[in-house]
């Protein structure tokens, strides 16, 4: 089933990118010197596109995601989300852009321990200032969508790792984002569960017309994705779509 999108189709149109990263640079102090993690990185992701990002540990993949998701200001460069350039925005304005357009899926699901599965989703509606009645209906249909309708009233401790991660994905969708950012969403799952999560993320990317970036390793190897990028020594390089992707896409 398809969850009705609240956002205007304009921002989802394939043409203009949902995320545009332009000459972004991030450096951390490293003893007396600085270590450049992102060295004038460019990246753009359009609606409905699934990008997988790989790279050695410590390469800066998570850092790139925090910059893309407006959690961190780059030292220089511009990050445009859903048409809004963010470099000149105040912290408050950046929070608003993030609330309206960006959602995250975390490695460890990151659910709130005192909320049931459905409440995890309702909280998003509450933060967005939505009416409780509509929120509950939408939350319920999203849980159905990730096959957890029967587990709506369970607390996180009562859910398996795979179930928690699916609640995490449903929660991300609850925000009706344009940009979905996932940092190793399958790392703590066994291959079978991981496969299901991969499948789900790739499916909602298309059905919801999301721009999705996933940092991932193995579980995504055979998966059809639009683009594979590799981050190493501060540089981003295209790995090239696997054979047959173009055919599948058509």
């Amino acid at each position: 089933m398809t969850v009705p999108a609240r956002r205007s189709e304009a921002t989802r149109g394939a043409g203009s990118p949902v995320l545009a990263i332009d000459r972004v640079r991030v450096a951390y102090p490293d003893g007396p010197d600085t270590r450049v993690i992102l060295d004038d990185v460019d990246l753009s992701v359009t609606a409905g596109e699934l990008v997988v990002l790989t790279g050695p540990s410590g390469a800066g993949k998570s850092t790139l995601l925090t910059v893309a998701g407006l959690l961190r200001r780059p030292d220089s460069g511009e990050v445009t989300v859903a048409g809004t350039p963010t470099a000149g925005l105040s912290q408050r304005q950046r929070t608003k852009v993030r609330r309206d357009h960006v959602a995250f899926v975390y490695q460890s699901a990151n659910l709130l321990p005192s909320l049931t599965a459905i409440e995890q989703l309702e909280l998003v509606g509450h933060i967005h200032g939505e009416k409780a009645s509509g929120t509950t209906a939408r939350a319920r249909s999203l849980l159905e969508r990730v096959d957890l309708a029967g587990r709506a009233d369970q607390l996180p401790v009562e859910l398996s790792g795979g179930e928690r991660q699916r609640v995490g994905i449903a929660r991300a969708l609850m925000a009706s984002p344009s940009l979905l950012i996932a940092d190793e969403p399958t790392a703590s799952l066994d291959p079978e569960r991981a496969g299901a999560v991969v499948e789900l993320i790739s499916e909602v990317t298309r059905s919801e017309g999301l721009a999705t970036i996933v940092v991932a390793h193995d579980a995504w190897a055979e998966m059809h994705v639009d683009r594979r990028l590799h981050l190493d020594r501060g540089r981003l390089s295209e790995v090239g779509p696997p054979a047959g992707a173009a055919a599948q896409r058509a």
């Binding site: 959690l71 995250f104 933060i127």
Partner: protein, 363 residues
């Protein structure tokens, strides 16, 4: 407070300890407040019950009757003021020894003109207009004193009969007694019944009306509650009680602030997550403060209720406790306010949390 309510409900055990501590502080505060009220009643209820608005005492008397001696001219100054009634009041402490085998009494003895506005009961007015004698606070009747008992008044050679009983009341923790102003003057100044008394009791009139006559007469004006301060022990008792209650409030603020600070540190990751989800700092702060407000309110109300029960039980004995609705409400409100002030100590920590930690980059 979407999150706060569910967090409270599902994590009751985590909040129980703080709740119990707050409730115990509330119990203690309620009992103290009742004790403060009780001590006031035990100290000055007799003076409080007299129907005057202000007292004029000799300059420098600091509300203390024994330091004030006035003469008729002071009275004359006030009698001319429109809308003001003025009457002389004598006040002193005496020891009365029973000559008929009854208990000996320490009395706060008021000398009043029988026909003045200070005497409100007809039976008392009648009794005081006749032969010299005492009209006693009613609680003395319960202690075995009866009408007709005779009492030798220390410091004088008078032996006075008990003429009757009036309302219960005390001054300086001694039961009050009334006698006619003439008799009071005879007790205090002996065979030379000079027209001396302790204070002018005033009814009606405003500060402006009375200021002129007061300065002409060389007296100072006290409102009724200012006059309580002259009762022996009154200021010390009320100051001590206020101080202890203040300390309790400070302690609860610190305890609550420390608790929420620790809780906030434990919740750092959760707060980062909420910020990453787009929650504003004020959304998170409202949630945290709301949670503390609920917790503190519930605990305080339980504590106050328990305290009230305790006061009722203790109050049936000899302890001078008295439940005072305004004071008890004040305890509840101030505990809740102080709880919020204490909680505010944790706010900077909420502000400081960086949403980046939601992605687990910096750990």
């Amino acid at each position: 407070m979407f999150l706060a309510l569910r967090d409270l409900r599902r994590g009751v055990r985590r909040f129980l300890l703080l709740g119990v501590v707050i409730a115990l502080v509330a119990v203690l505060s309620t009992v103290l407040s009742a004790l403060a009220t009780g001590l006031v009643t035990d100290g000055i209820s007799g003076l409080r019950a007299l129907p005057f608005d202000r007292l004029a005492l000799q300059e420098g008397a600091e509300a203390t009757f024994s330091r004030s001696t006035l003469r008729g001219d002071a009275l004359d100054r006030f009698e001319g003021v429109d809308g003001v009634e003025a009457t002389p009041l004598g006040a002193s402490f005496v020891n009365a020894a029973s000559t008929s085998g009854g208990p000996n009494l320490d009395l706060a003895l008021f000398g009043v003109a029988p026909d003045s506005f200070l005497v409100t009961r007809d039976d008392a007015r009648g009794a005081l207009s006749g032969e010299p004698g005492l009209v006693l606070a009613s609680e003395l009747e319960d202690q075995g004193v009866s009408v007709g008992d005779r009492y030798a008044i220390s410091g004088s050679d008078l032996v006075l009969p008990v003429l009757g009983f009036t309302f219960a009341g005390t001054y300086g923790h001694a039961p009050i007694a009334f006698t006619s102003l003439d008799t009071w003057q005879q007790i205090n100044f002996g065979g030379d019944p000079d027209e001396r008394f302790s204070a002018v009791a005033l009814s009606g009139g405003s500060d402006d009306d009375l200021a002129g006559p007061a300065s002409e007469a060389g007296v100072e004006l006290y409102t009724k509650s200012e006059a309580y301060a002259g009762s022996p022990g009154f200021t010390a008792e009320t100051t001590t009680m206020t101080l202890i209650q203040g300390f309790l409030l400070v302690i609860s603020a610190v305890v609550i602030g420390a608790f929420l600070t620790v809780l906030t540190v434990q919740r750092t990751r959760q707060i980062g997550l909420l910020k990453a989800m787009g929650a504003s700092t004020s959304y998170i702060a409202r949630d945290a403060l709301g949670q503390m407000a609920i917790l503190v309110s519930v605990a305080t109300l339980c504590g106050v209720a328990l305290g009230a029960v305790l006061v009722t039980i203790v109050g049936s004995g000899d302890v001078p406790v008295e439940l005072n609705p305004t004071g008890t409400l004040g305890v509840a409100v101030s505990m809740i306010v102080v709880g919020l002030i204490g909680s505010a100590a944790a706010l900077p920590r909420i502000v400081k949390v960086d949403p980046v930690i939601a992605l687990g980059v910096e750990q």
